[in-house]
Every structure is written in structure tokens, then in C-alpha cells.
């Protein structure tokens, strides 16, 4: 078949014959091939361990982010209760970023779990084939003449070689995905280390670069509606809401007052 499948088959067969060409006599081919299989099996185990480690790391990050979300929510409430609406807004913006990050972490963890499952299945298949190869190897060594052995070894080695190429491919793909996620996890950690999710009391007066980035990242309408909801929950009655609205005539657009109005009405 000349198509996609044909290309894959040709490439894999070429790799297998390259592997077999290295050894000269049949017995040597058998041992060499078997040794390669065992090596690959060890590598697959390491690969699985790598995926598990990355998954655990992401899960740890997820836990930390969940704590941040709760903390930022509390901080927003406290700020709002004290009438510091700007601070509350900043906290909510950060919460928004953390939540977005959480969602992507969730899907990454699910992907890694799937990779782990797939690699484990591949490992089992390879193990079964290696075991089969091992027993056939003993039979070939004991029963066949050199010429016959050559043919049978080639058959068995091709079968197991294909499985080896396949598990190698599965592992490479899993590790590529893991690498991408590691890079992303590092980026999140840097963001965290740079103070993004730190205690808001440490913010001080000036806005830093990260704050501005955060503002761009987070959807402001989401923040505004959450702020309005929070105001309603805090039971700042219609009078207080009026004061808040009236108290910020300089920077606040008229829309903010209008938005705050209806949601107060819905809550009560």
C-alpha cells in the first residue's frame, strides 16, 4: 500500500532491519535483539515514572491554586466590606486569572493521566511479546540448524521489533506532551513567584507590570459582575450601593452604577 499506512510500514521495517544487521550469526542476533528489548522495557518504565512525576507536580500546583482562589475571594470580600472597591477588584481579577489557570491545569492533568494509561498498556504488550520472544529464542537455539534458525529469528525479531518501534513512538509522544506541560507549569510557577498571587496587603501603592498584564488577561466584565454579586451578598443595602456609586464620580463610568443597580435588585 503506497499511502499513509504504506509509508509507516516501510519506515518501521527499515528500522528493524537496521537493528538486525548489527549482529552477524543467528545466536548473536537473538541475544542482541533480546538485550535491546530489555533495555527498551526499562526505558518505558522510566518514561512512565516521568509522566507520573509531572502529573503529581501539576496536581500540587492545582492544590495551591485552589487555595489561592479561596484566599483571593476572601480578600475581595474583606476589601469590599471595608469600602475598598479598587482593592476588591484587583483581588477578583487575580482570582479570575487563577481560575483560568486552574481550568487548563485540569485538562492537562487529565491528558497526562491518559498518557500514563496508554504507556502502561504499551508496556504490558511489549512485556508479553518479549516473553514470547524469549521462549521462542530458546527453542530456536536448541532445535534448528543455522540456516533455518536465521529465518525463524528474522520472523520473531521482526514481530517484536515492530512492537519495540511502536512503544518507542508512544513513549516519545507522551514525553513530548509532558515536556510542553512542564514548560507551562514552570511559567505558572514564575508568575506565582513574581508575586502575582501573593498577599494583596503586600501590594502597596504602585501597580507593577504584572498587575497590568493581569488586567489584560482577565475578563473585566466577569470581574465586574462578580463584584456586583459580592456587593449584593455582603448585604450592602441599596443605600450603601448608592454611596459607593456616588462616591466614585471621577474614575467610574456611568455604566458601573447601572450595572450595580439591577443586580442589587435581583439579590433582594
Amino acid at each position: 500500500m503506497p499511502g499513509l499506512s504504506g509509508r509507516m510500514s516501510t519506515v518501521i521495517k527499515a528500522k528493524i532491519s537496521k537493528l538486525l544487521d548489527r549482529a552477524e550469526d543467528p545466536a548473536e542476533t537473538l541475544e542482541y535483539s533480546y538485550q535491546k528489548q530489555i533495555e527498551l522495557l526499562q526505558n518505558v518504565k522510566k518514561g512512565i515514572a516521568d509522566v507520573v512525576t509531572s502529573k503529581k507536580r501539576l496536581q500540587l500546583q492545582e492544590t495551591k491554586l485552589r487555595e489561592q482562589v479561596v484566599k483571593l475571594d476572601t480578600q475581595a470580600r474583606q476589601a469590599l466590606a471595608q469600602g475598598q472597591e479598587d482593592l476588591a477588584r484587583t483581588a477578583l481579577e487575580r482570582k479570575n486569572v487563577a481560575q483560568t489557570e486552574l481550568q487548563s491545569l485540569d485538562s492537562q492533568i487529565a491528558q497526562l493521566a491518559q498518557q500514563q494509561e496508554q504507556l502502561t498498556a504499551s508496556e504490558q504488550k511489549l512485556r508479553a511479546k518479549i516473553e514470547q520472544f524469549r521462549s521462542r529464542k530458546e527453542v530456536i537455539k536448541a532445535q534448528y540448524s543455522a540456516a533455518e534458525a536465521q529465518v525463524r529469528i528474522s520472523e520473531a525479531a521482526t514481530g517484536v521489533g515492530e512492537e519495540m518501534a511502536d512503544v518507542g513512538l508512544a513513549m516519545q509522544r507522551a514525553l513530548d506532551k509532558t515536556e510542553n506541560m512542564k514548560a507551562r507549569a514552570d511559567a505558572v510557577q514564575e508568575l506565582e513567584a513574581a508575586g502575582t498571587f501573593q498577599d494583596l496587603t503586600q501590594l502597596g501603592a504602585g501597580e507593577d507590570d504584572i498587575d497590568r498584564q493581569l488586567r489584560q488577561l482577565s475578563s473585566s466584565s466577569e470581574v465586574e459582575s462578580e463584584l456586583a454579586k459580592m456587593k449584593a451578598e455582603l448585604g450592602t443595602g441599596s443605600g450603601t450601593a448608592g454611596e459607593l456609586g456616588a462616591g466614585a464620580p471621577a474614575g467610574e463610568p456611568a455604566g458601573a452604577e447601572q450595572r450595580a443597580g439591577p443586580s442589587q435588585g435581583q439579590a433582594s
Binding site: 509507516m8 519506515v11 504488550k125 520473531a156 521482526t158 511502536d166 513512538l169
Partner: protein, 92 residues
């Protein structure tokens, strides 16, 4: 006829399935060459489904090599193109 879906496993198909498989393979190749990602994904998925539905999984302790090998289910259009250009999916 033994067909392997890379990273998934081997399936045993009847000789009568070869023509249909070939046709689906050609469609996937055509979609790949046209560069239409959605079209490629769809035809390639049909090809995989055909093998899974019509094939019987080969027992794990069988050492039979495959007659044809299909790229892994999560193959991208870019990877499939590289496969044609000769780089291949299999490293080193």
C-alpha cells in the same frame, strides 16, 4: 491481513477488507496533500474506525509483524505531511 494502529495495537482483518482499507487510505492521503486539516482528521478517523470495527485485536503474545501500519490516532496534519516527505514519525 494484520493492521497496526501505531501506539494502539494490532488488528486482524479479512482479506476482503483490503480494498476498502486502501480506498480510505487514499482518501486520507488526498486530504493530507490538500492541506485541509478538518478533512484530514475526518477521513483519518474513518480509516481508524474501519480497522477497529472490522478487525479483531491480535493476542498480545503473538509475534506476527503487521502488513500495514497506520499512524497514531492523534497524528496531526503536519506530522502526516512529514511522514510523506520522508522524515517519518519514528525517531532515529
Amino acid at each position: 491481513m494484520i493492521v497496526r494502529i501505531a501506539t494502539e495495537g494490532q488488528y486482524e482483518l479479512g482479506e476482503g477488507d483490503a480494498a476498502a482499507l486502501q480506498e480510505l487510505d487514499n482518501q486520507a492521503v488526498a486530504a493530507c496533500e490538500s492541506g485541509d486539516e478538518a478533512q484530514f482528521k475526518q477521513t483519518f478517523k474513518q480509516l481508524l474506525e474501519f480497522v477497529r470495527q472490522n478487525g479483531r485485536p491480535v493476542p498480545e503474545d503473538t509475534l506476527e509483524p503487521s502488513d500495514v501500519i497506520l499512524p497514531p490516532p492523534d497524528v496531526s496534519l503536519k506530522e502526516a505531511k512529514a511522514e510523506f516527505s520522508g522524515e517519518g514519525l519514528i525517531p532515529g
